[in-house]
């Protein structure tokens, strides 16, 4: 058995397991291959396996910026959309945390009349179709003059993210006894010090997970942003939709698609590093 562990992973897997891994990898990575090729193509017509003409061959000849030249140019509005997406995502995450932390604390620790009804009510945004929420919000926001404003979009993004965040933080709070906070108070800490020095650091793994999730959900919301942005505020999902809505996927649309996937990939890498940090694993056994 000792020798086995020194063998490579590949030789330890059964043929079925190898096959399974390849299938999963294929499903995850497969779609990127035509996207990458398309983003570098000038003309790629059926039934060719590879583009007939590449972008780099045509680069000097065209008056217009092509493919990646276009994607990275101001004409594509990709920088504006990226800034909007990240900015809105950050704002939504912070506000969502500020709302969900106290709510999760109460849900985890207190018993009150109508608690289970409230918990059901909390998950309503996940049950009601996004289009219904979007149209209802739009009707209200037009009257309130919030349509087409950042503030309006942020409020709209909070609706589907708060239920997830509250649920995640409730679970984390349930694992954190009252003792720690009471001990800090007895030792003379103010409410703010208790939150900053004890509660938040101890909730950190849950807070990080919830924040990452909220940010990712926010950066991927299309419908609500589309309704409430009124075309005045573009984000990566709405920009992408406007490029591919016609049904054709040209090189610039493929490039934009690739850029839209970046925030998620970058966050995933950061979170992997962050959560593996020794300090966060320490002492949460009790």
């Amino acid at each position: 058995m000792a020798r086995r562990s020194t063998e490579s992973l590949a030789s330890r897997l059964s043929p079925f397991q190898k096959f399974y891994l390849i299938i999963v990898a294929g499903f995850v990575l497969g779609p990127f291959i035509p996207l990458i090729i398309q983003s570098l193509a000038f003309r790629w017509a059926w039934p060719d396996m590879l583009p007939g003409t590449w972008w780099l061959e045509q680069r000097g000849k065209s008056m217009m910026p092509l493919a990646w030249d276009y994607v990275l140019s101001p004409y594509s509005r990709i920088w504006e959309a990226t800034l909007n997406t990240v900015g809105i995502g950050l704002a939504v995450t912070v506000i969502c945390l500020a709302i969900s932390l106290p709510a999760a604390r109460v849900l985890a620790r207190e018993r009150f009349r109508g608690k289970s009804a409230f918990e059901f009510f909390l998950s309503m945004p996940l049950i009601v179709p996004e289009a219904a929420i979007g149209i209802a919000l739009l009707m209200m926001f037009i009257r309130l003059d919030l349509a087409g404003s950042y503030f309006g979009i942020i409020i709209a993004h909070l609706i589907p993210t708060i239920p997830y965040m509250v649920r995640m933080l409730t679970a984390v709070y349930q694992g954190l006894g009252r003792d720690f906070e009471e001990q800090a108070i007895i030792l003379g800490a103010s409410r703010w010090q208790v939150l900053r020095l004890v509660t938040l650091p101890m909730l950190l793994p849950g807070v990080v997970a919830g924040a990452l999730f909220t940010f990712l959900v926010s950066t991927n919301i299309f419908l609500l942003t589309f309704f409430l942005g009124q075309g005045k505020i573009i984000t990566l999902p709405t920009l992408l939709f406007s490029k591919i809505a016609g049904g054709t996927l040209d090189a610039s649309a493929a490039g934009i698609t690739l850029i839209v996937t970046l925030p998620g990939i970058i966050l995933l890498i950061i979170s992997e590093r962050f959560i593996k940090e020794e300090a966060f694993g320490k002492g949460f056994g009790n």
Binding site: D179, Q183, A184, I186, L187, A189, P201, G283, G285, N286
Partner: protein, 349 residues
């Protein structure tokens, strides 16, 4: 050195009464145990003294000051929780210094007091460790040091020995006792274990169902409990119902015992007689004895090493006798029990 007084304290949660009209006068520098079964209100009492709960009625005084309305942070109390509540993301040093750093104590003073207290609790080699890397006894010492560094006027502990194994228990008991005496700090702890209470406390307050049943030194509670409930909780095993004949004898299921007259125990009244296991002398039946002898037969023997318990059948009752195991009597042997009058304690009812 602070005197703690509870004056007619009651606590109700909705319709449930956790504490009913408790008066408790704890002397300065005293080590007091609040003892009772779980749910009796002892922890609520401790939390009220700390300020984590507010009494529904009544007042709490530290010396001559009414602290009932003071915030927890302003009461200057210390609390060691049962599971220590060490902050898992901080080192031993950071944990211990917490109380000083949140109060904005200057760095140099923090470091001096840290050195001093770490020396007292002998945690020198563990300063940079995290709580998850410590043993139970070390975690408790960190918790105690963290509390003492703020120089609280009253120290509170929740089941201080409950989470420790037998060997550590003795060590921690001596440690807590010595430290408490050295610092002279008024200390109140909660426990459901009468052994833990007797091991540590100067005086024990027994609480049943939110009422203070008895408050006194361990030996009083052990030898002279005020009620059958207290006797039972303090671990008494020989409690027999009986009727007084005169004021100096009680008629029980296994014969008449002569007793020392006690106030309120009149001729003919129904009483309970308590016989401490170790207060009874056991002799083989052929040994001549005095008038107090009760005849019986050994039904079972439990050997504990240093001591031995005999279950002796006397008529319809079973009396448990504990003695040193220097000699051993056999099961089935006819014996006579010598129960001197001064070792019988009477309780009403």
């Amino acid at each position: 050195m602070t005197q703690v007084q509870l004056r007619s304290i009651s606590k109700r949660f909705g319709g449930f009464t956790a504490i009913e009209n408790i008066d408790l006068d704890i002397r300065s520098g005293e080590l007091v145990a609040l003892l009772g079964p779980s749910g009796c209100g002892k922890t609520t009492t401790l939390r009220m003294i700390a300020g984590l709960e507010n009494p529904t009625t009544g007042e709490i005084h530290f010396d001559d000051r009414d602290v009932s309305d003071l915030r927890v942070q302003d009461r200057n109390v210390g609390m060691v929780f049962q599971r220590y509540a060490l902050f898992p993301h901080m080192t031993v040093e950071k944990n211990i210094a917490f109380g000083l750093s949140v109060r904005g104590t200057p760095r140099s003073e923090i470091s001096d007091r840290l050195d001093e207290i770490i020396d007292v609790v002998q945690l020198g080699p563990f300063r940079q460790r995290f709580p998850a890397q410590l043993s139970g006894g070390q975690m408790q010492r960190v918790a105690i040091a963290r509390t003492l560094i703020t120089k609280p006027s009253v120290l509170m502990m929740d089941e201080p020995l409950a989470n420790l194994d037998t060997k550590l228990r003795g060590e921690m008991r001596r440690f807590i006792r010595t430290l408490q005496q050295r610092l002279g700090i008024t200390t109140i702890f909660v426990t459901h274990d009468q052994v833990e209470a007797m091991e540590l406390a100067d005086r024990i307050a027994v609480i049943f169902n939110g009422h203070l049943a008895q408050f006194g030194p361990p030996e009083d509670l052990y030898r002279q409990p005020v009620s059958v409930d207290v006797a039972d909780f303090m671990g008494a095993s020989n409690i027999f119902p009986g009727t007084m004949t005169g004021t100096d004898a009680v008629k029980t299921g296994f014969g008449t015992l002569s007793v020392v007259a006690q106030p309120g125990m009149a001729d003919g009244s129904r009483v309970h007689a308590m016989l401490r296991n170790e207060g009874i002398d056991i002799h083989p039946a052929n040994v001549e004895g005095g008038d107090d002898m009760v005849a019986g037969r050994i039904a079972a023997r439990d050997f504990f090493g240093a001591t031995v318990n005999y279950v002796v059948e006397c008529g319809a009752e079973r009396i448990i006798v504990n003695e040193q195991s220097r000699r051993l009597l056999d099961v089935g042997m006819e014996v006579r029990l010598d129960i001197p009058a001064e070792r019988v304690w009477l309780m009403a009812g």
